[in-house]
């Protein structure tokens, strides 16, 4: 009798443990999934919903695609897009290009590498707002130390006051911040390229440039693409550097700053949501394009 009970109990226990065990990954994932569902997925859908409504000064009513019609009729939007693409395009090329150069230099394994890397990472911990503030000061029209150095080049109008100059300073500050992380990503990838591959290429008579572009670069392409995606997304979302560096002037009004202005300065959330939906598809489109490069071999 006793034995039977124990046996029955242990069988239930075993079954319980089994079912519990098969749900283990579910329990482990649950907290993360709740966060992501409520504060990542739901907001995306909600943005889509708001973009089909008029939401301004307490009013809230469905208007179909009117926000998008207004958006696509607004020249500021297209100008914002153009500024965004120039800003992201130029900072991307500079960040990736210089980042790769720095990584190749660090990969020569100088004895001072540890020191170089610590110094190089200082900009990485600097907030975009702080970076904007500092770079604004460096290029301040009258008292900026760099502006004073480049005075002979800029003439009477400071770089900050020139239309393209303001954007250039924003780009410099952005590249300055983005460089360390990108360099480190590339360095990690370079260190994982086996020396045998490089040596055999050298034996085949390829010079160092050829080896780098024909052998090394294709091997580290996945990392390159990750860096390109992360830099692009960060650039498209960049608001802090621009607001602190130049405020909201037309020359540096990217789509993201335009969204900030429409939503929080003019209180037009319906239009803001429409912009954010467009931004979402731009991000998605760019990511898919980049990922295509990853797959083709």
């Amino acid at each position: 009798m006793i034995a039977a009970t124990t046996k029955k109990e242990s069988r239930t226990a075993a079954r319980f443990r089994l079912s519990w065990r098969s749900l283990v990954p579910f329990w482990l994932l649950l907290p993360s999934l709740i966060f992501l569902a409520v504060l990542q997925l739901y907001p995306v859908i909600y943005s889509l919903y708001i973009s089909l409504h008029r939401l301004r000064a307490g009013q809230y009513m469905p208007v179909g695609f009117r926000n998008f019609e207004r958006l696509f009729a607004d020249t500021n939007f297209y100008e914002g897009l153009a500024v965004s693409f120039r800003f992201v395009g130029i900072s991307l090329v500079l960040t990736i290009g210089i980042g790769m150069l720095v990584a190749v230099l660090l990969n020569q394994r100088s004895q001072f590498n540890a020191l170089y890397m610590v110094l190089m990472f200082v900009p990485w911990v600097v907030s975009d707002v702080v970076a904007g503030t500092i770079w604004r000061w460096l290029f301040q029209q009258d008292y900026g130390i760099i502006q004073n150095m480049i005075q002979p080049l800029t003439g009477s109008t400071s770089l900050y006051a020139k239309p393209d100059g303001a954007l250039l300073i924003v780009i410099l500050a952005t590249v300055w911040r983005g460089l360390p992380f990108t360099s480190l990503l590339f360095l990690g990838a370079l260190q994982n390229v086996s020396t045998e591959v490089i040596e055999s290429a050298a034996l085949d008579g390829a010079n160092r440039w050829k080896t780098f572009f024909r052998v090394t670069l294709p091997i580290i392409r996945p990392t390159l693409i990750v860096a390109v995606i992360l830099t692009t997304i960060a650039g498209l979302n960049s608001v802090g550097v621009i607001l602190t560096l130049t405020g909201n002037i037309p020359a540096t009004q990217t789509v993201s700053v335009y969204l900030y202005e429409q939503g929080w300065q003019f209180g037009d959330f319906g239009l803001g949501a429409a912009i954010s939906v467009v931004m979402f598809f731009i991000n998605l489109g760019l990511t898919l394009v980049y990922l295509r490069f990853q797959r083709q071999d």
């Binding site: 098969s22 283990v24 990954p25 994932l29 993360s32 966060f35 992501l36 504060l39 990542q40 997925l41 907001p43 995306v44 943005s47 708001i50 660090l106 020569q108 100088s110 890397m117 610590v118 110094l119 990472f121 200082v122 900009p123 911990v125 907030s127 975009d128 707002v129 702080v130 503030t133 500092i134 000061w137 460096l138 009258d142 008292y143 130390i145 004073n148 300055w176 360390p180 480190l184 990503l185 990690g188 260190q191 580290i220 990392t223 990750v226 995606i229 498209l236 979302n237 608001v239 802090g240 405020g247 969204l259 900030y260 939503g263 959330f269 954010s276 931004m279 991000n283 998605l284 990853q294």
Partner: protein, 280 residues
């Protein structure tokens, strides 16, 4: 193709020269900000500008201490960044362990969906999160900031921590499992110590990111008591128009804690990153 001694020396000079130049460019803006923070108002608006203060002054710091930048703003920054980074690492370990060690239907798909969330631009969610916050009366609270930050940083955190757990051979866990350890015990006693560099890296990256976060903060926080330091610094534009030494002193206050954190954790961070914490 053996390179001669001389060629090698020239290479080394070029490599080190370029790296020193890049280091100088990297630290110059911050060093000059530090120098400016010790200038007087008169010296800030002197032409030509001096690299080093002629009359050292703590006026900038005095002004910052009188403003709200340290309390409450920097304190809020500390609470939000620390709280969210710790929660991200804890939840990230649990989720990453599930992805790394269990076979279940939809494992790969779910990973892909979460990875895809890294690509959701913060801007897209801002208006919805703002509406949600005002509906539940959560705007201007540290709790809501932490919740948003956790959701925002979790995909990247899971990604990095999973790479660290993947690198641990599963055999190490098996004997513990045979001894009857549950998954939480395995995580506590085996995964945590072995994946430590990866966890430190995840923590550091999230901490740096949310310490400096501006876009979400500027949108959600308009009450002075709830603002974070980055938002507070932006307000300096109105209150200290040409007092650049005050701006720079404020910047130094924001940079210093996170720079120290980086310096303490840098070895594990560099090691994990160079071993491919962020995979292609």
């Amino acid at each position: 193709m053996v390179r001669t001694q001389q060629q090698r020396r020239i290479d080394s000079i070029i490599v080190n020269g370029l790296l020193i130049m890049i280091c100088l460019i990297s630290i110059f803006p911050v060093a000059y900000a530090l120098s400016t923070s010790f200038k007087t108002q008169r010296e800030v608006i002197s032409k030509p500008p001096y690299l080093i203060p002629q009359n050292w002054s703590t006026d900038g710091y005095d002004q910052v201490l009188k403003s709200s930048l340290i309390r409450p703003h920097l304190l809020n920054t500390f609470i939000n960044a620390t709280g969210s980074s710790i929660i991200i690492v804890v939840l990230g370990v649990l989720a990453a362990y599930a992805f790394s060690r269990y076979k279940f239907p939809g494992n790969k798909l779910l990973q892909l969906v979460i990875l895809g969330m890294i690509m959701i631009p913060t801007l897209t969610n801002l208006i919805a999160l703002y509406r949600l916050g005002s509906q539940f009366d959560l705007l201007n609270t540290n709790i809501y900031m932490i919740l948003i930050y956790v959701a925002n940083g979790l995909p990247f955190g899971i990604w990095i921590i999973k790479a660290a757990i993947d690198a641990i051979p599963i055999e190490i866990e098996e004997s513990a499992r045979i001894d009857g350890c549950g998954p939480l015990q395995v995580i506590r006693y085996i995964i945590l110590p072995l994946a430590l560099p990866g966890l430190v890296t995840a923590f550091l990256m999230e901490f740096v990111f949310f310490w400096n976060e501006f876009l979400i903060a500027v949108v959600m926080l308009d009450n002075n008591n709830a603002k974070t330091a980055t938002v507070g610094l932006l307000n300096f534009q109105n209150s200290y128009q040409t007092a650049y030494h005050v701006w720079m002193a404020g910047s130094v206050f924001i940079i210093a804690p996170v720079l120290i954190t980086f310096f303490v954790l840098r070895r594990q961070f560099f090691r994990a990153m160079l071993q491919g914490a962020v995979k292609g």
